[in-house]
Symmetry: C2
Subunit: 231 residues, 2 copies
């Protein structure tokens, strides 16, 4: 038989398969992911070429596994997100559950600060491309995990709050939860990690209590939250 090149056949299985794979393919991918994670946790935002050099593989090979910096960041984000996504609180109190979630997630986000900031940057890039119409069927960044996490955290209020209020609370909480909080409180205000945590926790608690107070003011009548209805 005639021997011709056929590397193109196995081009697109390198997306995101944490499934049990063996062989050099999985090994190299793992090596690159670990290298990229290590670099990003040290604060860097390496390009594919830089990861290739650090992992001591050729540029060509690196690009075979991660066709762009976006793919690389996405993979590291998934890595860093792991412990957060499996989070479960033991409490039944919404405010405490939210506090738990923040205490779990925010330090993790800070540890992967460069990664999450890169992800935010890439999502903005994607938005700009979509707006300009020059979106070439790209991976489509996720960036919606906080929605489910927060909905789950305040799930105990699902009975006490009207669906409309429940959703609004989740939406408001999503404003004080995530990398954006880091960019605002640390980069603009110059706070340190502990101060940032404190502010975010206070804001989250205040929002939860406000939602509860409002809902109780509606059913019970007079209460300390009477001012809340004037909005």
């Amino acid at each position: 038989m005639d021997v011709s090149r056929q590397q193109a056949a196995s081009a697109d299985d390198a997306a995101q398969a944490p499934a049990v794979e063996k062989g050099p393919r999985a090994r190299t991918r793992r090596l690159m992911l670990e290298t990229a994670t290590r670099l990003m946790q040290s604060g860097l935002t390496p390009s594919v070429s830089e990861v290739a050099e650090a992992a001591e593989v050729s540029r060509a090979t690196a690009y075979r596994y991660f066709p762009s910096q976006a793919a690389l960041v996405q993979a590291v984000v998934d890595e860093g997100l792991g412990p957060i996504l499996t989070w479960k609180s033991t409490s039944n109190d919404a405010e405490r559950r939210v506090a738990d979630l923040f205490a779990t997630a925010m330090p993790r986000i800070e540890a992967f600060e460069a990664t999450f900031k890169a992800a935010l940057k890439l999502s903005l890039d994607q938005w700009a491309r979509r707006e300009a119409g020059t979106l070439g069927s790209e991976p489509a960044f996720t960036r919606g995990h906080r929605v489910d996490l927060l909905k789950d955290a305040i799930a105990p209020l699902k009975g006490r709050l009207k669906p409309r209020q429940f959703r609004r609370l989740a939406q408001a909480l999503s404003l004080v939860f995530g990398v954006e909080v880091v960019t605002v409180l640390k980069d603009i205000w110059g706070l340190d990690s502990a101060e940032m945590m404190s502010v975010a926790q206070w804001a989250a608690g205040a929002l939860v209590r406000a939602a509860v107070a409002e809902s109780e003011a509606r059913s019970v009548g007079m209460s300390a939250a009477s001012k809340a209805m004037s909005a």
Copy 2:
């Protein structure tokens, strides 16, 4: 829109232009800024080259006025920020003042959505560069306007709140005010402008009321983590 402008009326330089300049220098700069603003308000995030083409000047000339996309975005941000920075509320009620500020600023931010998102992206770029040590001693993005605006908005509480509480409220409010709100509520949650506005306003109001309530409850001595309605 209208490209024919007098060169004499050229007092409004934005970023790094030496004060009062006349002649073709100011005219070309103004032409480019108007072109860039128009393009960005239509949702695009043009490169310097693209603005050059749209403004019908050569690439070389364009780069003389705006040495990078960052400089361009910064200039357009200043343009878009104008009406916001001069904002003054007539009310003495902190909550109302905050609501006023939001009602003024957020629509403006939305109108310049592409610009502010580009600015956010560039500030993330800058952070990454600083982190990597490869900062070319160039841009220095501002991005701190919301601090003064919010402090001013809640100024009526300066007497009622302790400095620590006052600062914390301003910091918390800065989380629900700015482009980040747009990226989270519109891009992730899929809300429209009105819904976004409603959520941001509710969150801001809740935070202000929580700060006030806490300060009033302080005479009891206990941290306000307990339910607000337990009187």
